[in-house]
Amino acid sequence: MPLRAMQRDGRLLGAFADAERRHYLGLVDGAIRDVQLSRDGQSMAAEFPMLAIDEREMVEQYGISLDGLPKDLVVEGRGLTTFVVGPVHAGIIEPGRFTFHSGGESIVHLEAQFGFSHRGVESFLEGRDAVASAWHVARICGGCSVARSWSYARVLESFHALAIDEASEFARMICAELERAYNHIFDLGVAAAGAGYGFGLTRALELKERFARINARAFGHRYLFDAVLPGGIRAESLNDRRALRSDLRALRDDVEKFAEQLFGHHELMSRFSRAGVLPYETAVAFGAVGPALRASGGTFDVRCDASYGRYAQISPIRATAHDGDVASRVRVKYDELRESMRLIDVAFDELGDRPIPLPQHVRAIAGDGSAMTEGPRGAEILSLRTDQQGRVQRLHVISASYRNWPLVTRAMEGNIVPDFPLVNKSFNLCYACGDR
């Protein structure tokens, strides 16, 4: 299937290379298709701009030569000022380097340079037992650990055609929605901080901490690492359901009170609206995923469009907005947060008092496959190929942040320099899962 047909009938997801060939992933009829091309050859990025970073990575890390790969944009002209920020920043954030080209206060062009958190995680895992590597996979990125672990578990389970019991699936859903909830509440806080509203950040940190404590009681880790395991869910998860539900209800009420204050703050909302507009066409051309896409008029949500676990049974309601500005992204995240709280409630109802079995034993065997999970920032894609002994031959991560980062730079064009923290934080993307 050529890429053009894949994009027409479905959705292009990204690309990577291994020692032999290039792989272009797309979603067609709810399943991930892998279109393979020769190692060297014609770049696809001229036709599909979203692939420019994927192909650049192939060139840099696999020594592949591609014809027609888009060249760096040279920005120069009278009255332009160029200045660089990073990789060391003033806040408690990950390292990235941003080159601003501005004319007066307005940003003409912004370049983002990454790789400062590049540890070489994919090559590090090559040759290791694929099941034992789940512990490492949970630690590729701390902001989307559950989504990635779930994708990884699903790939390994698909090698055995292993079915997961209903109770474990509902527990996984609760876990994934808790991950979305603690991320989104933090994102609301940092967006407020980006507009200088300190109270918003403090209040969000208070609520996030309560999520972290519930996470630890529910799944044994404040940020839910190692909760979703190949074959099931961590033993002793969700033991004290009555108390957890009561605390979650109180937390939900306080989140709603906080949202009333936030969205009722007219000065704050006037900063949020029309800042950092990401047009729908740009979002689609660059393959945006998650809240970044859905705030610009898109609808794609892995939970609805390539359903997994028990999501088809519960049918999450998509959160969407159309203005593509900071206000829309913040609104979509809040709507999703509320929906996560509802999904958690429904999943608890479905789970009832049923015991959750221990994870099934999964042995690493030969296989090749990909899986995609809706994380807090969008589709978290993981591809794995193992050898006859079940050792990792190639593991590749396409994270939602990796897909969305080029859009942050686009959303900044025409905005004033002091709004960069605000616009950036309305996306609040990770670096670790993109850099790897």
Binding site: A90, E94, P95, S117, R119, G120, F124, G142, K208, E209
Partner: protein, 143 residues
């Protein structure tokens, strides 16, 4: 002894050297009302020039090595480096991966080590108390 309110103040600069972001969750939590590290006079500052303490996370990556050394060396003496989390200490998931070092703490001569994946905010505050004590010793202050 540090621990009493406003007994001591620390300017803290935080530096990420290939962390997964888990440790950053917990350093950020120091600003949450449940921990509020400013009650001890501990404040995250924007520049290493303003800092007494450098908290570092991650195994150290090749790309961050030079910026990290430059950041530490921009700090005035006396200064203390605190290694936060298993990766920075040298026991974490990605230590010695292809483009990673054996721990940012070791490379930056950390004197305080806070283990955990990630360490809890309380553990990080314990580490900051220890950094404050070492700074007092170095400056010849008695409390």
């Amino acid at each position: 002894m540090p621990g009493k309110p406003f007994d001591v103040s620390l300017g803290i600069r935080h530096l990420v050297c290939g962390s997964c972001n888990g440790c950053e969750h917990e350093v950020n939590a120091l600003g949450a009302p449940q921990y509020d590290s400013t009650q001890y006079g501990y404040d995250i500052v924007a520049s290493p020039r303003h800092a007494d303490v450098l908290t570092v996370t991650g195994p150290m990556t090749e790309a961050m090595r030079d910026p990290a050394l430059a950041t530490r060396d921009a700090m005035a003496e006396p200064r203390i480096v605190v290694a936060v989390g298993d990766c920075a200490i040298g026991t974490g998931a990605w230590c010695n991966a292809g483009s990673a070092g054996a721990g940012a703490g070791g490379e930056l001569d950390a004197e305080v080590h806070v283990p955990g994946c990630p360490p809890t905010p309380d553990a990080i505050i314990r580490g900051l108390h220890e950094a404050a004590r070492l700074l007092d010793l170095r400056a010849g202050r008695k409390r």
